[in-house]
Amino acid sequence: MKLYFAIPAVALLALNGFLLRAALPEMLRQPDTEGAEEVYEEKPTTSILGEFRTSLASYLYGRAHEYMHGGVVFRAATESEVQKGKRVAAHGDSLEDHHGSQETSVVPESEYDPRSFWGDIERGAQPWMDIRRHGHRDLAEALPLFRMMTWTDPHFVEGYDMGSYLVFCAAKDRNVDRALEFLAEGIANNPGSFRLQKSYGHYLLANKGQPEEALVHLRKAVEILERRAAKGGGTDRTQRQQLIDDIEVSQTWNEFIMALRKTNRREEAIRWSRRCIEINAPCASGVRTLKIYGLPLPKTRSL
């Protein structure tokens, strides 16, 4: 009778070992691009384990959002909801950028709920708050989840990016060094990620007052973006992902040009400002830089 359990158990272990053995070399390889899609798609076995890691990390990421909001579940607002001008987030704090886009609560506010008293019951029985006036719990509570998700999947860029931000915000005295440490780990695991390079450069520039050191990372971030643009990458994304990506790209260019200005690299700042306007118009920092230096703006279709 025991054999009925033992045989499948041994078979499962053997399969597990085979999968790990087959997938491990790719698992340990660093991706050249943002995230791990490239590595995980090399072999079916890698794909299976990679999908599992990514799914688990994504699950934890979702839970982390819930933690920050005390169990209240939010979702991205639909286009029509945004157009109607209702039910969208107004965080009023710096977390707004990290929410990526406008969000609304899954359970609507009473004035927009067609279910009458059923809606009142759900709003009372389930964790709920008006998104327009919502706050965040102690951000430190969500930090362990970010540690777990980046252990689970070291190529989960969002985990490092958002996690470092929470490390920074959760501490009373704004723990930049710990945030940089976390980001450095992320960069070591994902050297092809422009977002992590950009965030590292941002903390050095804005919080540590080290524009020279920041420039090194921001330059790397822009180089990654330029390589990606040359390859024509970053297009196979959903509308929401694209929106978040556009914001990140725009911020990267802005920070880079700002760092060039702060380090008095006039010629380089002008050259990159023109490049930014050319490929990423409207490029606020590029336009501002050219104005500061009293130079005419290049003619582009968007300007």
Binding site: S80, V106, R115, S116, F117, G124, A125, E141, P144
Partner: protein
């Protein structure tokens, strides 16, 4: 003791022995402990502050496994009596079909509640050993779970007299675990609604599956204050009414069923 109560007591005892014989509950208790301890094991690797995560795992396990057990218990009550032909000696006694059906419903509810109590007890013990306290809202959680099992037992018994046992199990599980998704989809599709139709929607909405509406586990996990008194009251009235509706529907079919 009235004859109906005697019938119910006998049926509860029989169903309990059947559940013990099948050993399903033991497996789920072990799984619950593994889930909670597994979640806590992350702290050994240096990730401190995972209290909410551990509580979340504990209540997820309790909610999920008690639902699976509830559906399993309720959907096999009537079909197994028929397939084993034990329904004939039962009905040969002075027991009406209504008494048998309601007896099976009560047995399902009591056993699901007992399983839930055991799973919750084990989880609370583990959480206490891990020094993770919970708030008073836990009492409301237990009460509302008990009411939700009324709905679960009633709808599963109703399904089991209309479709086969395995189909009833699948449907019951889908309705119970997917009830939150139905609500979300409805809200997304219907939007703000049409004011003139919304009163009709509010009435019809009550007949949709609302198992997750009774589940305030997330509030327990995140340490919210107790909910307003009228909500458990309203949900209790609703739970009893909708369970009676599904039982009546089941009885209509069961009384006309050719055995």
């Amino acid at each position: 003791m009235t004859p109906t109560l005697r019938v119910w007591r006998t049926l509860i005892r029989g169903s309990f022995l059947e559940m013990v014989r099948r050993k399903e509950l033991y497996v789920l208790v072990i799984l619950t402990v593994l889930m909670v301890v597994g979640a806590y094991s992350f702290t050994f690797f240096g990730v401190s502050g995972l209290e909410i995560f551990v509580k979340d795992m504990a209540f997820t396990a309790v909610g999920l496994f008690s639902t699976i057990l509830g559906v399993t218990i309720a959907t096999r009550q009537i079909p197994e009596e028929i397939s084993r032909r034990t329904i004939y000696p039962l009905l040969a006694r002075p027991i009406s079909r209504a008494q048998l059906l309601t007896g099976k419903f009560v047995a399902s509810w009591v056993l699901t509640l007992a399983s839930f109590a055991l799973l919750l007890g084990v989880s609370l013990l583990v959480l206490t050993l891990l020094r993770l306290p919970l708030k008073v809202i836990l009492i409301q959680y237990i009460w509302l779970k008990a009411v939700s099992f009324l709905w679960l037992s009633a709808i599963c018994i109703c399904l089991s007299v209309y479709v086969s046992s395995s189909a009833a199990f699948t449907l019951g599980l889908l309705l119970a675990l997917g009830s939150g998704a139905f609500t979300r989809s409805f809200l997304l599709a219907y939007g703000d609604g049409v004011p003139i139709l919304n009163w009709l929607i509010a009435i019809l909405y009550g007949f949709l599956p609302h198992f997750t509406l009774f589940d305030i586990a997330r509030k327990v996990v995140y340490g919210w204050d107790p909910i307003a008194w009228w909500i458990p009251l309203a949900l209790t009235v609703y739970g009893i009414a909708i369970s009676a509706f599904w039982l009546k529907l089941a009885l209509n079919r069961f009384e006309k069923m050719a055995l």
